[in-house]
Amino acid sequence: MESLERIIAEQEFFAGLESYYTGLLVGCAANVRFNPGTYIFKEGEEANEFYLIRSGKVALELFAPQGKPIVVETLDAGDILGWSWLLPPYLWKFHAHAVQDTRAIALDGKCLRAKCEQNHDLGYELLKRFAQIMERRLEATRLQLLDVYAVK
């Protein structure tokens, strides 16, 4: 059976992270699995973890009043799910819905926040990595908003 430390170290998100930091992360990590149709978290709930998706597919959904949920993005193997654990008020902004059988590594946000407060180098490494994801998703969202395929 693969060790959590090895699985975490092999994730692209943690590429180049020193093994000492990987060791710190493992203390906050756990394997999780979600059946298709399961909600991993819902908008407004406390955000106390994030997930490294190992397999499956997760849809990020936004609920419109009196309407059906709108899927704003899907995430697949290798993607990171959730950054609301990192910034106050630590509440989810979307629903996350497993649309396929999904396996992931869950990282405890409270545990990580405490470690980052104690070890700012770890905090900086994590923030840099999350900032890259945020920047890419912001760019993708802007492109999506342009609705480039519509007839102008």
Binding site: K57, A59, V71, Q100, A140, L146, V148, Y149, V151
Partner: protein, 284 residues
């Protein structure tokens, strides 16, 4: 001395050849595929992937339309057309047996020779898959001549996806990866949601030995080209198909001038290296 028949196609480049509509099929609510055959005997006219024709709807007007069919098929020409105005609407509502004038094929086409022996990345947005379909046919028809084929295709919604059955069939071919995404998925859509650039991280290929061919809205192509650079491709290995207001299609009229280039004659396919600085200019 006998004339060179390969070049002496017609005496007048502005003269359309008579073709008949053989079939019209609906791809999406606003996009149709037309099959045209010569009115008289088959002329065996071939085309290169990425080339376009000028299609004349009599009494309405003339349109530049990319050829979306199989280059190995010489008996007919296939076009996929989105109905967005009077002329395109007139074209897609032609009945079987109706006459259509055809000039061409014109343009440079995709760099199939440069792609031989290498991985091929096809990135398409919306109806941009139509001019790229001949590339996919060509690669699959001459499978041993090319490396991996990766097709990344983005559309507005599941209803706007072209060639859905073919996409599924291509995905089953060896050494072929087809990834599809939509900007807005309904609740019944179980595929990827997000813009086409979000698919790159799932593509399995070797950037240093790849050639990318991109077609879609210009904004999309700009973002895709940047993403391909970040992915490790060189500017000379990324090709884009440009669209401008083409009228004569042979470089006479200047309607499609884009910086120093005529899209109809020098393009529509260009290496990104030639376009990069132009694409960042507001005035063009």
């Amino acid at each position: 001395m006998r004339p060179n028949m390969a070049t002496a196609v017609t005496t007048d480049p502005m003269l359309p050849h008579p073709y008949l509509v053989q079939a019209v099929s609906k791809e999406t609510p606003d996009t149709f595929t037309l099959k045209l055959a010569p009115e008289d005997k088959p002329n065996g006219r071939s085309f290169r992937p990425g080339q376009f024709s000028m299609l004349w709807v009599f009494g309405v007007g003339e349109l530049p339309i990319s050829i979306s069919g199989n280059p190995a098929e010489h008996k007919q020409l296939v076009y996929t057309v989105r109905s967005v105005g009077q002329a395109t609407n007139a074209l897609v509502t032609q009945h079987v047996g109706a006459g259509v004038g055809v000039r061409g094929p014109y343009g440079t086409g995709w760099p199939m020779d440069a792609a031989r022996g290498r991985d091929v990345i096809v990135v398409a947005g919306g109806i941009g898959l139509a001019p790229l379909r001949p590339v996919i046919y060509e690669v699959l028809h001459h499978r041993e001549d090319f490396g991996r084929l990766v097709v990344l295709y983005g559309a507005r919604s599941p209803h706007d996806l072209l060639y859905r059955q073919e996409l599924a069939a291509w995905a089953r071919q060896r050494e072929t990866q087809v990834l599809v995404t939509v900007d807005y998925g309904g609740m019944s859509w179980r595929g990827h949601v997000g813009v086409v650039t979000t698919l790159f991280k799932y593509a399995r290929l070797k950037p240093a030995q790849s050639v990318a061919m991109v077609c879609g809205p210009e904004i999309m192509m700009r973002f895709v080209a940047r993403e391909l650079m970040a992915f490790g491709l060189s500017r000379n290995d990324v090709y884009l198909s440009m669209e401008r207001n083409m009228k004569c299609a042979v470089g006479f009229c200047g309607h499609c001038q884009y910086g120093p280039h005529f899209i109809c004659k020098d393009g529509p396919v260009f290496p990104y290296e030639k376009l990069r600085s132009l694409m960042e200019k507001y005035e063009l």
